[in-house]
Amino acid sequence: MPSAKKQNRNHSKDQDRPLPQIRRVQMDDLDGIIALDQRVTGLAKRGYWRDILERYGRDRRSELFFLVAETQDQNKLIGFIFGEIRAWEFGSAPCGWVLALSVAPEARLHGVGEALFEAISAEFKTGGVDKMRTMVARDNRLHLLFFRGEGMIAGPYIELEKDLD
C-alpha cells in the first residue's frame, strides 16, 4: 500500500513524538479495534467488527479501505479509519466515503487522526476519485472540528429523515 507508507514521516510537525505507522487492517487487529472502540463508545461490538474486518480486509481492495495506526516503537494500535469508494444515486458520481474514524484518547492531538485521514485520502485518489465525503451529526463537535480542520466543507447534499409512525 504505497500511498499509506507516504504518511510515515518521522515526526509530527508540532510535537516531538513519532508519527504512527499506517497500514492495512489484518484480522489479528480485531481485538485491538474492539477494545479501542469500546473505550471510545462504551460498546463492545465483536460481531459487528468481525464482519467489517472480513469485508474490508478481503473484498474489493481497490475500493474498500480499512487502515490502522500503530505506534512506531511498540506497534500498539492507537487509531483506525475505514471508508470506501462508491457511487450514489441522485446524480452523484462515485467518491470516497469516510465511514468511521477513531483515535485513542491518549493519542489525540498528536497527528494520528490527520495521518489516517491523509492516508485514506491518498487511497481514494489512487482509486480514481477526486472527492471525498463523510457524514457527521451536527452536534458532534469533536468530529466536525476535526474534519473542518482537514479542509472538509459542507457538500451539496442535505441529509433528510422522517419518523416512521
Partner: protein, 153 residues
Amino acid sequence: MRLQVASQLAIYALLELAADPDRQLSVGEIGAKYGISNHHLAKVMNVLGRAKLVRSVRGVGGGYHFSGNARRTTLLDVIELFEDFGAGRSDGNAAGAPGKTTGEGRALAEILREIDEIARATLGSITIATMLKIVERHRGGSPARANVIAGRG
C-alpha cells in the same frame, strides 16, 4: 444569514492577529485594511480583550496580539460575544411574532429552527486555525504560511 458588523470586525481582527501570534498590530493598522473606523474597532477589541482572546500592549509600538487558542476558538465563540446566536434566534414563535399560535406559525418556526441549528453547527465547527487555512486558500497561497499550527487530530 447576516452577522452583525461587530461580529465581522471581531473575526477579521482575530484572523489578522492569529496569523502571526508574535506580531502586534494597532487598531489603526487593522482598521485600515478593512476600512473600519478606529472608534468602532476599539470597542470590539475591548470585548475581545475581556474574553482573553487578545492582549493589549501599551506604549510606543503598542497594539494588540492574539492570546487565545486558535485551535479551540470557533467562529461561534466569537460571534456570541457580540450577539445572541442561540437556537431559535429567528424563531417565528418569538414574542410578538404574528400568527405564532397557528399551525402555520408553528410550521414556519420549525423550519427556521432547522436553519438556525445548521448555522450554529457550522459556525461552531470552524476554528480560527481552520479559518486561516481557508483564508490562505482564497489567497492562493499555502496554508503552511500561517504560523498558527492548525488542528491535528
